[in-house]
Amino acid sequence: MRRFSWFNATSLTLGFAFLYLPMIILVIYSFNASRLVTVWGGFSTRWYGELLQDEAFLDAAWVTLRVAVFSSTIATVLGTLAAIVMVRMGRFRGRTLFSGMIYAPLVMPEVITGLSLLLLFIGIGLDRGIFTVVLAHTTFSMCYVSVVVSSRLATFDTALEEAALDLGCTQAQAFRLVTLPIIAPAVISGWLLAFTLSLDDLVIASFTTGPSATTLPIKIFSSIRLGVSPQINALSTILIALVTVGVIAASLATKRRADAAERDARAAIRT
């Protein structure tokens, strides 16, 4: 028997109101005609129009998107490799240092990660721009990817891989045909996580970028430092809408896959 009391209902309602009201208010006020951001002046999509004509924002969005695609893709490859090394390679010299370097960036304050990478780039005389931000984002997000993928790898039955090897697969074929499809959901969520982390990052990008590459969070931060701006409300609404659609689509896809797997399992039992 599960007891769901009034107390539970109230705390859930208040809790979710607290989590969602600020964003809902932001979305509502993005359609405000008035420039005064706290006074309602009627419905208008004016700020969306202004936003889409603002070259600086469009440039920043394009830079951010490129950085996120490149860094999350490289981070997924490196992070998956790192997960395989952690879970499958057994003992090797320097394993402790390796696992330390995987976990440390997860708890390292962003200001320190940013500062240290900037000092490295200056030290070796690398020009700062998109390339250096990609390097920086790849480094911290590969650690997140490797944590996500290694938790999947740890529960994976190695007998499946051994069976493939017994049936004449090479190591590489066994990996591609057996292991990879099984860990694929974790690899995909790792990529999504890396992608969002990169889209979202302000601090590390501020340290590691140069004047040529302003990312969207840097642009947003510099415009809201002095207060609320209607254009940023419009931009925030667009971003919130994209994330909501993405998350709902992803969870529906996961559910469908789980249902299909269950159906297969049931069919297999019947035959």
């Binding site: 007891r3 769901f4 600020p22 370097m101 000092l119 490295l120 340290f207």
Partner: protein, 295 residues
């Protein structure tokens, strides 16, 4: 093949995590100069052994001594730890009832509730902090509401104070608190509560003697997940906090970008890490214990 697989991620992390960190350590022991880069000494490898000796001789702990002398720094460290600590407690007080309600809710509802908690986590951190600026400002919605209800006569100054920083931290880190507590509560067997009540416990006693101890692992994990990142937080104090809100992440940023004092910024970073080591080690130990308990 095996060597190559290990080498690729290993070398990447060495080059882009460990070496940069050692550079910070080195610069924290250097002196500020008016050159580019603005610190000395530089390690001159072409001078061979004598270059290394000169380099080591010129290093000193001056910057760390400086940090102890100027009270800005130790005040900033103390107030970061304090703000992180208080916000962690508030987040726990807000998050626990939500996690509890989720765990009690009907099974068919739980995936949806879980998604509703995770969704804000995928939304831009910056935007979530920003959403409070319009609410908390002196002409903002909260003040308008309170004045219309005749609760206050003149607007409260909430934005640009430490109160706003607390609100910001609680709001943005709430999912990190809810998720581990929910995970712990959800595994709990309801029969235990029924047994406690059959044996004469009141509901409150049953909660205190059964539910709370069983959720403690999740509570500890949640608290560390909020406390550790909150100490080094930069975005929240710089957008919501005022000039009197001292947090070390902000000090480091300003030392680097405004004062261009790289050696002191590096020393600030090293001390910040030393402070973080204690909670991080405790957190790791808690996770280890949880894993062992699960077998």
């Amino acid at each position: 093949m095996r060597r190559l697989l290990i080498a690729v991620p290993y070398l990447w992390l060495l080059a882009l995590f460990l070496i940069p960190f050692l550079i910070v350590f080195k610069i924290s022991l250097s002196d500020i100069t008016l050159s580019i880069p603005p610190y000395s000494p530089n390690l001159d490898l072409s001078a061979g052994w004598s270059g290394l000796v000169d380099f080591v001789r010129a290093l000193d702990f001056e910057n760390f001594v400086f940090l102890t002398q100027d009270d800005l720094y130790w005040k900033a460290y103390l107030s970061s730890v304090w703000i992180a600590f208080v916000s962690t407690l508030i987040t726990l007080a807000v998050g626990y009832p939500i996690a509890y309600g989720m765990a009690r809710a009907d099974r068919s509802w739980q995936p949806t509730l879980l998604m509703l908690v995770i969704l804000p986590f995928w939304t831009s951190f910056l935007i979530r902090v920003y959403s409070w600026m319009g609410i908390l400002s002196t002409e903002g919605l909260l003040n308008q509401l309170l004045m219309n209800l005749w609760i206050i006569d003149e607007p409260l100054q909430i934005l640009n104070t430490t109160t706003a920083v607390y609100i910001g931290i609680v709001y943005t880190y709430l999912p990190f608190m809810i998720l581990p507590i929910y995970a712990a509560l959800e595994k709990m067997d309801d029969a235990l509560l029924e047994a406690a009540e059959d044996l004469g416990c009141s509901r409150l006693e049953a909660f205190w003697l059964v539910t709370w101890p069983l959720s403690r692992g999740g509570v500890i994990a949640g608290c560390f997940l909020v406390f550790i990142p909150a100490i080094g937080e930069f975005v929240i104090p710089s957008l919501l906090g005022g000039s009197d809100t001292l947090m070390i992440g902000k000090v480091l940023w300003e030392e680097f970008f405004s004062n261009r004092d790289w050696p002191v910024a590096s020393a600030v970073a090293i001390v910040l890490l030393l402070i973080l080591i204690v909670p991080i080690v405790l957190f790791q130990r808690n996770e280890q214990k949880a894993r062992e308990a699960e077998g």
